[in-house]
Symmetry: C2
């Protein structure tokens, strides 16, 4: 009963109503593709056949090697392209086959679909911020006074945003040793962070804040994000300027950007906020996201095991609020920028989005099917983040990363 | 007695032995130029005349609209170009005139000479870090325990790095009001920060730290940096993730990148460090920089007045140490990245690199010649950062910025 002539497996993550964008190299060069079931539509081939002449700039933008030019075109263009592709997938078999645009992407190499000029990572989960406060500042209130008033965030490292599948080299850095003296060594507390990020569309000029009710015009779509972290570096370096080498070595994103247009039925009222935030942080629409999220951990000796199942439903600060806050001072966002939620954790055991929470900084290691235990990641471990939007009937794909040993 | 045929005024900031690089648009498009006295050499014109065929890739890189491609070529290429340009300026009048390459840049618009993919700002001045600690954390030790062990830094906002002359719009943001409740309003504590930054050359691959004794291969040159800051935002947002909207609205840099090759006689032993840092932070050469620095402040009613005179000589953490630390974990640096010192302050009154220090957060306002006082910057104020390397007999140019009122 598929409405498209492309064979789409039952329960595919990428049915006709998703149409996520990625960039693959099937062996003869990078190109932008749209996923449909297990296949991919080659945008350059469609453009070459004159099938994307829906709005000025669309065909050249989608003939590029990354999404940035397309992201700059904005919602109307995105909507027009979505309409055209939907139509071709319903009734355009001849045109697509003539254009040679239907690819089997199984063997293709995924590339980073967008090039972030800026990367900002938030701290939007109340449960995560509270647990982190308890672990890192046991003497004080777990939640700092600003947390309920603004979506606190730090600026990350655009140069090390990488696509799923990229291995992550265990970093060396500086940690405080047991004798109270710093040491230069490999991290002994390598962690993942389960996050959901959004990819910025047209963006704003310097000095021009984005009103919270205009934020939907600036969000193209979402990706899963693994903000790899070295907790021992983080504890030592973090004051007063925040994390730097604890996180700058790697951030992995899922290969498919899921358009916000595919998630409309997953948008729900956001979590009630108390106290009510300032007016510039009060959107009129629904910005909660009903996404199921999970983390699998595998080792050389142990098949992947679910170590976390959680949801984005209860996340406190929304994408709209993050975007309004980041630009309230006139800071610019540009097409392809990546803004992430920060770690998403639930209340229950088994719903934590990182190991420092799940193991209470190693106090309660996780036991794997092989009998191995993990306080933090070891070399050879593979982390898989997964996500789906059940109400929308689509998947978010996954972010996979395997830990390589530190260089000699 | 000028060794060049180009007329260079006495005491010019840009004599033959400087040769700083910039990008200007004289009205017919951006091009890379090298300053000589009050003139500029058009690199695209030289390349077009076949005068830059010294190393593969040089001529196309210097025919570009920014320095990034040239920065990627590395020290040997930079040295070869320096040799060629020096030769042309000594004995190549005919060739340069035939190429139409000598410009009078007075009327030209300066553009940002490099495009930073990442921007990192340090905290390298002991005096600045100590005073800031006293002001922001009066209850505790002014210097946090990590400060003497690593060049602490935060990741900034590449999208709002701008060239000198760009106006700076007073930002709105979130501050903690007198009643203990947050407010959305214009900053009442807009500050400048006097800094010196370096521009990254070839950079490193992900996972490949740069050894501290190889850092000179990765530093093309230096610029003056004004890291504009909203102190009221910073106090409220800063924990636990560091500054974000307090600084993301604007960072200004001087228009000419002074090659490290022009500063060899300004490199001096760096300030002794106690305790000795870890080995990865111990360079074998001299990385102190003998630079005189200053800040002028002018208002609508008051001519520019010197509000600070200081020096980079006493700065605690060096560029080499910053570069080694930033890559110790395998984080990548790319051509054109900007790494800055953080605010440079001396001990004495009148040697502070920002107003929060100079006025003790407004407790001791500065009095200007007009009789006006300033705790922080007001609309219409103009800040000029200046620098020179007296031992090298060259100037660093200046960074100018005027404060515009907030948008309605």
């Amino acid at each position: 009963m598929s409405p498209t002539w492309v064979p789409v497996p039952d329960h595919s993550e990428f049915p006709l109503h998703s149409l996520p964008f990625g960039v693959i190299d099937p062996g003869d060069g990078a190109r932008i593709v749209v996923a449909i079931g297990d296949h991919a539509l080659d945008m350059r081939a469609l453009a070459g056949a004159g099938l994307l002449d829906v709005e000025p700039g669309v065909a050249p933008a989608l003939s590029s090697n990354d999404l940035n030019a397309y992201l700059s075109l904005g919602r109307e263009a995105w909507g027009a392209v979505r309409g055209v592709i939907t139509g071709l997938l319903m009734t355009g078999e001849a045109e697509i086959r003539d254009a040679g645009a239907l690819l089997d992407p199984v063997e293709a190499v995924h590339l980073l679909p967008f090039v972030p000029g800026d990367f900002v990572d938030g701290y939007s989960s109340l449960e995560h911020a509270t647990t982190m406060g308890r672990i890192l500042r046991p003497e004080g209130e777990p939640l700092l006074p600003n947390w309920r008033h603004m979506p606190v965030a730090y600026r990350g490292t655009p140069s090390t945003v990488m696509v799923s599948g990229s291995p992550v080299r265990r970093p060396r850095g500086q940690v405080l040793g047991p004798d109270g003296m710093p040491e230069h060594r490999e991290t002994a507390a390598l962690d993942f962070e389960l996050e959901v990020g959004f990819v910025v569309g047209p963006g704003n000029g310097i000095g021009r804040p984005i009103d919270i009710d205009d934020t939907a015009d600036h969000i193209f779509g979402v990706v899963l994000v693994n903000d790899w972290s070295a907790r021992d570096f983080q504890k030592w370096e973090g004051r007063p300027l925040g994390p730097n080498i604890a996180k700058s070595f790697a951030t992995s994103v899922s290969p498919w950007v899921i358009p916000l247009d595919a998630l409309t039925t997953a948008m729900i009222p956001s979590r009630p906020q108390s106290p009510q935030p300032l007016e510039y942080l009060r959107p009129s629409g629904d910005w909660g996201l009903d996404l199921d999220l999970g983390v699998d951990l595998g080792t050389a000796a142990s098949a992947p095991m679910v170590v976390s199942r959680t949801s984005m439903r209860g996340v406190y600060w929304t994408f709209a609020q993050q975007l309004a806050h980041l630009t309230v001072n006139g800071a610019a966002l540009r097409p392809g920028d990546l803004i992430s939620s920060g770690t998403i954790s639930g209340k229950a055991a088994g719903s934590k989005g990182c190991l420092i929470e799940a193991t209470l900084d190693g106090a309660r290691p996780i036991t794997l099917p092989s009998g191995e235990t993990r306080s933090y990641l070891e070399d050879g471990d593979t982390v898989v983040l997964r996500g789906s939007a059940p109400a929308a009937g689509i998947g978010l794909g996954e972010v996979v990363g395997t830990v390589l040993p530190a260089h000699d």
